[in-house]
């Protein structure tokens, strides 16, 4: 394990991460990162500096040079083979089991590089004691139906706490300011694959399904019996969330 530190690396600025990793890349056959917002930010930059075609968001390793990745919002899976000697890859975390813990690799300090290009001004992080959305066993997601930020939190937070779940949202709920952007599940937000996904007042647009259709069990609560979300849900309740969610809270005890 190599440890690099610098002011810019502390904020994972893409230019600094790139300068540091490219400096180390000679000795390695592959550079991998999760397909998180961070990984998506710096990995293509690293690839271009190495003159390598990056491979984004893989869900399967077929062989040392061949990988599977979703395209078109997950409506197609492409199997691609690269001719580049060095591989630069981002990995969809939900598609692979985590490595076992308890390794004991030695930690070696290497020099971290500041790039002096963009500079950090500030950040606003959402604090939460709930499990991380991408890693949670249960996710409860709210949509446009919730109608306001107050209602979103009043309905979703107690349910999440009761289930030990993470809270997600549709784009419509995030755009309207009911939930922070970090909650967005979908093609252009987070991809989740929990054991249980409960969609409340979400219609089930292609872009939303792209982020949750690999969940093990999907539950939909929607007042419209024809909502597309029911086409992927294992269990559906047709009804107003205002009555169904309190009943669910009761039934959970």
């Amino acid at each position: 394990m190599l440890l690099a530190e610098s002011g810019e690396l502390g904020h994972t600025l893409a230019e600094a991460v790139t300068a540091t990793v490219v400096g180390l890349a000679d000795g390695y056959d592959a550079v991998l990162a999760p397909a998180s917002m961070d990984g998506k930010n710096y990995m293509p930059r690293i690839a271009a500096k190495l003159d390598v075609a990056p491979i984004s968001d893989i869900v399967e390793v077929v062989s040392a040079d061949t990988f599977v990745r979703p395209i078109y919002a997950g409506n197609a899976l492409e199997t691609i083979q690269t001719s580049d000697a060095k591989k630069v890859i981002t990995v969809r975390p939900t598609a692979f089991a985590p490595a076992a813990e308890g390794g004991s690799a030695p930690v070696e300090t290497v020099s971290g590089t500041d790039a002096g290009k963009a500079s950090f001004v500030g950040e606003e992080m959402v604090k939460s004691d709930r499990p991380e959305l991408g890693a949670a066993k249960i996710v409860v997601s709210g949509g446009r139906a919730l109608g306001s930020a107050e209602e979103f939190h009043a309905v979703m937070d107690p349910l999440a706490d009761k289930l030990g779940a993470a809270v997600g949202a549709s784009r419509a709920a995030v755009d309207a300011g009911y939930a922070p952007n970090d909650y967005q599940v979908g093609q252009t937000g987070k991809v989740v694959a929990p054991a249980l996904y409960i969609a409340i007042g979400i219609s089930g647009a292609i872009q939303h399904l792209a982020g949750m259709k690999d969940s093990k069990v999907i539950v939909a609560i929607n007042k419209d019996a024809d909502a597309p979300i029911f086409q992927v849900a294992d269990y559906g309740i047709v009804g107003d969330y205002k009555t169904v969610v309190p009943e669910l809270m009761n039934a959970l005890g």
Binding site: A14, P44, S119, F120, T188, I237
Partner: protein, 254 residues
């Protein structure tokens, strides 16, 4: 400030892509095509920088050039951008689907010719879903990058950009010239008005070929096959929350 906006012609976001039976790709015959939604957001922001809308000072952008790499019909995509308020267009014709690295190299060559102060572009195209070209262009130019922008302020020769990141927002200051890629919440793109669509017909589109730029666009990747994902079938409707909880317990989901 001169702004370059790369725009891509892609499957319309309302259309569900279908894989071809021979597994060579996605069937785009007779499918509605549109401007990549993120690129519409980039064009809109460029036009606001010119008009002085929202928090931007009028005339922050002096000229907006849009560039597309793609088939002849990508002219329609450029016309849409011109109708929204861009000044002129460049189409680099290519019938081959170019990889992100090749697209970034071509865009870098366009930047060398056009010398923009800012490249504003989509964070991701909704077909390839690579989320790569902007970052690669910034690397090739050795410019700063600010990806996933939710707010952009131009002042003092720098772009102050609020970015959507894991866990919240991060604000960066990128000295110009820079590459900024845009996210969903930056703005809501306008619909072009009929008079502006008419006006856009008179705006210039320069027709170019990939060979004009002398860059290496040879593919590094070979698509072995394109398949449909496993489909889920609709489950059952349950009567109420109590029945739901008992079902979830039975299957071990609770």
């Amino acid at each position: 400030m001169k702004v370059l906006v790369p725009v891509k012609r892609v499957i319309d976001y309302n259309v569900k892509a279908r894989v071809k039976a021979d597994q060579t790709g996605v069937d785009l015959a007779n499918v509605k095509m549109s401007m990549n939604p993120f690129d519409e957001i980039a064009v809109e922001e460029a036009v606001r920088l010119k008009e002085g809308k929202e928090h931007h000072a009028a005339g922050t952008a002096s000229e907006i050039v849009v560039v597309s790499i793609g088939v002849t019909q990508a002219q329609e995509t450029i016309r849409t951008a011109l109708a929204m308020g861009a000044d002129r267009g460049i189409l680099i014709q290519s019938d081959a689907d170019l990889e992100p690295l090749a697209v970034a190299k071509l865009l870098a060559a366009v930047v060398a010719e056009e010398k923009p102060d800012l490249v504003l572009m989509g964070k991701q195209s909704i077909d390839g879903d690579n989320n790569a070209v902007g970052q690669m262009l910034a690397a090739l130019l050795d410019w700063p990058q600010a990806t996933f922008a939710a707010k952009i302020e131009i002042a003092g020769g720098a772009a102050k950009v609020t970015r959507e990141v894991d866990g919240g927002n991060q604000t960066l200051s990128a000295p110009l010239p820079a590459v900024v890629t845009v996210d969903l919440r930056l703005n809501t793109p306008r619909y072009a008005s009929l008079p502006n669509i008419m006006k856009a017909k008179k705006k210039e589109i320069a027709m170019k070929a990939v060979a004009d730029y002398g860059v290496d666009v040879a593919p590094r990747l070979t698509v072995r096959k394109v398949t449909a994902p496993a489909t889920r079938s609709a489950g059952i409707k349950v009567a109420d929350a109590a029945e739901l909880v008992s079902k979830l317990k039975t299957v071990g989901a609770l």
